[in-house]
Amino acid sequence: MIVLVVDDSRVMRMIVARTLRQAGFEGLSIREASDGREAFDAIATEQPDLVLSDWNMPTMTGIDLLGALRRSGNEVPFGFVTSEGSKEMRQRAEAAGALFLIAKPFNEDTFRHVLMPVLGAAR
């Protein structure tokens, strides 16, 4: 399975990838993008099984990325990993078609619990 990690912070992309491994999701191919625009292009070519995206990013935000994907007919499973964990943000994410929102800071237990229904086969 291919997972695309989208975050403008290099260290956060590294931590998300590390936490996926610590959560027991070993059989994944991790790809990275540093903003929504880069991710939109990567999704077209890589066809990932899941997108884990930050919310606030330069050039194109995570919520704008999700909107652009859905408008183009792309229904790739999409979840947010972001420091924005308010009720309003969660409602906006859900309304736009996100499967979940994981608030930073997170740990492997959170990843395991939230991602098992999506990535269960990769364990």
């Binding site: 912070s9 260290v11 590294m14 931590i15 420091s83 924005e84 964990g85 930073k104 800071p105 740990n107």
Partner: protein, 160 residues
């Protein structure tokens, strides 16, 4: 109005983000940048782009939290403190620490804030930011001990 976060909330954010134990105690003096004590300063703004909060981290905390986030050897953080200079990678990592730290201010009764800017220890912050950092009210100052990395100090300052 933004409210000062509870000490436990601050400790938990650092501990959860860095994935290691963090001890937090009250600092005896306000954490303020001076020529002798360079600090990294994070500025948070409301959705109306008004200053919502400031976070001032001494070089020890900025270097050690930045190193711990990416599992960089503690000696690199110690060297940064000794050299009084935060290398780019530690500053970039510290930027992410204070970005996540925004969550402590975003409680249901307070206006939403997000990270607007981070001033590196070798860049003295703008005058209005320094003036706010020197205030003695609406602030809390802490010493943190990051397991395996060491000590640093943190000041949280809110506008009147």
């Amino acid at each position: 109005m933004t409210i000062l976060p509870a000490p436990k909330r601050i400790r938990d954010v650092f501990a959860d983000l860095l994935g290691r134990d963090v001890e937090l105690t009250n600092a005896p003096e306000p954490v303020v940048p001076t020529l002798l004590q360079p600090c990294a300063v994070a500025v948070y703004v409301t959705d109306r782009v008004q200053t919502g909060a400031l976070v001032c981290a001494d070089l020890g905390l900025a270097a050690r939290a930045g190193a711990a986030l990416a599992l960089i050897p503690p000696a690199r953080a110690d060297a940064a403190v000794e050299d009084r200079m935060l290398p780019h990678n530690l500053l970039e990592n510290f930027h992410e620490v204070v970005n996540v730290f925004a969550g402590v201010f975003n409680v249901p009764t307070a206006p939403h804030v997000k990270l607007y800017a981070v001033h590196a220890p070798d860049q003295f912050p703008p005058r209005d930011v320094v003036a706010m950092l020197r205030r003695l009210t609406r602030r809390a100052d802490y010493s943190l001990y990051i397991d395996g990395y060491g000590h640093g100090r943190l000041g949280v300052v809110l506008p009147m």
